[in-house]
């Protein structure tokens, strides 16, 4: 049982790191926002594993709907692609 939790936690820690790096390397801002949302879901799982279910719930909602929502509205009002040069 403990091992299963640890395995999931390992995967999620890797997921957080990869998601964070991948989000910032994207040229497409919309895709970057979605990747940061994925990172948030992984983080929510880690919060669950760290015995903080309240925070898991909060992080899942805030990180996947609220913050990406605000930033996506910002992208719609500005431009979608990162500029070159």
């Amino acid at each position: 049982m403990i091992d299963a939790v640890m395995t999931v936690a390992y995967i999620m820690v890797i997921g957080v790191a990869v998601g964070a790096v991948a989000a910032l390397l994207q040229k497409d801002l919309l895709r970057a926002v979605f990747l940061s949302g994925a990172e948030s879901i992984a983080l929510a799982f880690i919060f669950q594993a760290l015995l903080a279910p309240d925070l898991g719930l909060t992080q899942a909602i805030v990180g996947t709907v609220l913050l990406p929502g605000i930033i996506i509205l910002g992208i719609f009002k500005t431009r979608r692609k990162d500029e070159d040069d």
Partner: protein, 286 residues
Amino acid sequence: MEMKELRGSRGVLAAVALLIIFIGVTVAFVQLNGNVARGISPEYNRLAHLQQPNSLSAWVYDWRGFDTLIETGVIYVGAVVSVLVIGRGLVRMKQVEGEEPVPQTSLDLKIGSVNAILKYFIFPLVILLAAYGILIVTGAATSGGGGFQCGVVVASAYLIGAVFFGKKNPLNFRRKFLIAIGSFGWALYALLGLPGYLVTGYWQYNVGTDLWSSIAGFPAQIPSILHTIFGDPYRLALVLKGGTFYSTAGIVPLINIGEAFNVIGAICLIFLVFIYGWSDTEEAKA
């Protein structure tokens, strides 16, 4: 802080500083790992069964309820400031000619071509999400969640509705309504401290639970009418190993409702203004 300058020698300097920060933080975390001092936290947990089962909710809304009042203010201020930047309440000096502010136009979310089946699928989703938000706020004392989570869930429902239905949003909030409930929520939270303040002098003393009036040095007795108003409606029975404990969360459920109103008002207002912009003439008409 010109960002382009970070490419040259300044960039190297910034990279070195960053490396130092990273190593420092890592070293500190390695030292802390397994050595975290427990401090005051067990004391809060010791008192949990006297008030409400959810220790975190008790910490956030009762033991450190005043911190949360200011924190609720942060989200209120965030909404006021971002809406002010877009256009609500920009000020000019009478005597000075300044730059004209740039008005924000309304955003055309072109998802109107969603087919009818998806639309009928989304409609109950929005309603269910809003209902789930209300469920979260009512169960705050006993399980995870609370006012902030409720507000965030309802705001998500609002955003989804706005994206898929546009102006025909099932949760069709108006600007003035959102500003009003946001303000009402924060004011409700702030004024819930008043009964305790008037009776004992401690702001936001939890008059419903009333754990401390029997301790020596406490300045006042709590009149029973306050127990009746703020305590009795929220009675809980906790069946624990040591027996059945009867407790009440006191003003915490009411505080949660205040916070929920505030967060719904603030975040929906942010979404609304980011989507539709702000113009004073429209407000005057409405």
